[in-house]
Amino acid sequence: MTAERKAENITAVRMVINWLGLGLFALLGVAAVVPLFLIIGDVYVKGIDAINRLGGLWHFLTGLPPTPYEESGGIGPMLVGTLYMTVLGALLGIAVGFPLGVYIGEMRREKFANVARAGVNVLVEFPTIVIGLFVYAVMSLAKEDLNLYLLDPLSRTISPVGGWITQFIGPLDGFNAYAGAAALSIIMIPYVALITASAYASIEQPLREAAYATGGREFNALFVVLRKAVSRAVLTAALLGTAKIAGETAPLLFTAFGNFYYAPFTGPTAAVPLWVWYAAQTPYEVQIASAYGAAAVLLTIILTIFIIARIRG
């Protein structure tokens, strides 16, 4: 009798503790998610209001930024710059990061693969401003030779194509979109490489053996057959990495530098995060509003990429 009751008591106590514990975890979960929605809500409420006040969505997406005296304006040059640099940076990041990840993940027994893995692990934690400074230093060293031996002759040969090509290719300034894209890609490479590596490492051995057993070249086994097993993870990595670099400010400070106007990508190039960073600090309401609008646009880009990643991944 007593033993039974004791057991009942213990079960009851355990159930209560269980509920308490679960409740606590649920609370922690809510606490973690609430700031996210508060930030998103705040940015969109203020941002959409700002975009309407500054002359509507289309004007905001294409116009030049407002001076303190103006009442309307946009982030056109910044949006173009951010899209261009993010796409370039992401393509370069995937082009280097994916094979690197395959190497680290599949060739685990090679000594250098371990060195590469350690290096990538460090790089992923690097402060992004340091990466920006590194690209800045390389750019300072390489710019003159690059212009003299490669880009000057190149721009002369391709000049018959038309004036528009000078927007993209030509002698580089000290600050340019390509330096910005390079900095962004260096941030993205370890990100893609690590996720690719862990995805490849998690492929089950029988599947791997089957892939090699098809009798094709090793290249095909790795990059065609096995890729399909991990393509979702890799695609997610690529998309999340792109979302990450789209919002970076620090690596662009001394590489893309920023601009107020539509200008060739071979010179200082505007970026949305740089404008947000600058405009939010001014005392002028119209510029602060444009910073909120720009933040909303940036958040939309990042959330869109994120949602695509969730759906596809």
């Binding site: 300034d173 399909k228 695609l235 539509y262 600058y278 600090q281 002028y284």
Partner: protein, 447 residues
């Protein structure tokens, strides 16, 4: 490649293609997006251009500068005082890159955009606020066409490049003392505090610890009975800044003990942090917020950060009248009072050194002479612009165009740019005699 795989890649490629197309389309849209030879601007230009410069009172313009309604036909007139090449300006177009002082960024951007509109979108002056120190450094690295700084070129750097560059002020900023003391808020009492250099210095030195200190009461007989016995929170910048440099330079000049204990610079060690309640904040906006949110605080910020939030400050406190110890009068930080101070500082410099400061000179003594001037509002700072004298010799590409563009832009900044409609609220235009120094500097830049 199996058919299930294809849509993904197609989707990615399509997305990239769309982005690229949009980017190109956007690039092609705006006027003057590039230096490519376009057809002469059509008749639509004049309708768009008259708006940006509403204050064209031609009578006050000494040299026939820009006539904004017809940007395409008259650019030759813009450069008329420099007789060298009359044909260049008519074809003049291109881009300049500058950077530096965060403080001047909104003003520089306004000048840049108005000038962009005045020239029909032919000249783009891109200015980025990377900080005064970085501005000077990147200018010396030849990465920027011009630099802007809250302080003159530091002496060691000046000695390295003396004779190769010019520096001149383009606009004045003034620093105001804001405070948050609800008991004596302007909205309640209708009065602002009176302060002197000595009292400000003693607060930041941690010697005056409470608002009811007799030394504060003595300056404010009308508010004496309302000043609360609460600890003063002295807010200051935590980051290096030209605002701190100008503020501490003023205290150094106006109150001797400050010079012996604290000194002046981009950053200083604030005795109030240890002895009393000092607090640091990043940026002008940080100090402005700190004062608004912290009862019984005081803080020094650039004029604009107060002017744009005047009502909020009036609710919790206000902005102080500051006594100029040289003439014993209290001055409110108005445009007139600050301009008076600048003119008086120039006079004093000219008296002491026998001539006006030259654009090639070391301006550190000049900035000291301008601080705490004989009359007028005493806390102010100049924003200086650095230009090379010979862009070709410094290794810049396309140096002739660059020099012509720079001359054109800064000539406009120093004349039209100083007029009411082109000076952003919070900045103070240069007195004409100071602007003249800049115009002389432009003549030294080799075309």
């Amino acid at each position: 490649m199996s058919p299930t795989q294809n849509p993904k890649f197609l989707a990615i490629i399509a997305a990239v293609a769309i982005v690229a197309v949009v980017a190109i389309a956007l690039l092609a849209m705006p006027p003057g997006g590039s230096p490519q030879p376009t057809t002469p601007p059509p008749a639509s230009q004049p309708t768009a251009t008259p708006t940006p410069t509403p204050t064209t009172t031609p009578a006050t313009t000494p040299t026939a500068t820009t006539s904004p309604s017809q940007p395409t036909t008259t650019p030759t007139a813009i450069n008329s005082p420099t007789p060298t090449t009359t044909s260049v300006p008519s074809r003049l177009s291109g881009a300049l890159t500058g950077g530096g002082s965060t403080f001047v960024a909104p003003q520089m951007f306004t000048w840049s955009k108005t000038f962009y509109q005045v020239t029909g979108g032919k000249i783009q002056v891109n200015y980025q606020s990377i900080g005064s120190g970085a501005g000077a450094a990147q200018f010396l690295e030849k990465k920027l066409d011009f630099g802007a700084s809250d302080v003159p070129m530091p002496r060691d750097k000046y000695e390295q490049i003396a004779g190769r560059f010019v520096q001149f002020p383009v606009v004045i900023g003034s620093i105001v003392m804001t405070y948050n003391v609800p008991e004596i808020a302007y909205q309640k009492t209708g009065k602002y505090l009176n302060l002197t250099a000595e009292v400000i210095a003693l607060i930041y030195m941690g010697e005056i610890k409470q608002w009811c200190d007799p030394r504060i009461k003595a300056l404010n007989p009308g508010l004496a009975d309302k000043l609360p016995c609460k600890d003063i929170v002295a807010a200051h910048r935590s980051d290096g800044s030209g605002t701190t440099a100008a503020f501490t330079l003023y205290l150094t000049r106006a109150y001797q003990p400050w010079n012996q204990t604290v000194g002046w610079g981009y950053t200083v060690k604030w005795p109030a942090d240890e002895k009393a309640k000092g607090t640091g904040a990043k940026g002008n906006e940080g100090v402005a917020q700190a004062v608004l949110q912290t009862p019984y605080s005081i803080g020094y910020i650039e004029f604009a950060y107060w002017a744009k939030n005047k009502d909020k400050y009036d609710q919790v406190g206000g902005v102080a009248f500051v006594r100029n110890d040289n003439d014993g009068k209290y001055y409110f930080p108005t445009t007139e009072n600050v301009a008076m101070g600048a003119a008086a500082g120039l006079e004093r410099y000219t008296r002491r050194y026998g001539s006006k400061p030259a654009p090639e000179a070391d301006w550190n003594p000049v900035s000291i002479e301008f601080s705490n001037p004989p009359r007028g509002y005493p806390i102010m700072s100049f924003v200086y612009v650095f230009l090379w004298k010979d862009y070709a010799a410094e290794g810049y590409g396309d140096a002739a165009t660059k020099a012509a563009l720079l001359k054109e832009f800064f000539k406009w900044v120093l004349t039209e740019g100083q007029k009411q409609g082109n000076v952003v609220e919070g900045y103070i235009p240069l007195p004409p005699e100071v602007a003249k120094i800049g115009l002389e500097a432009l003549n030294l830049v080799k075309p």
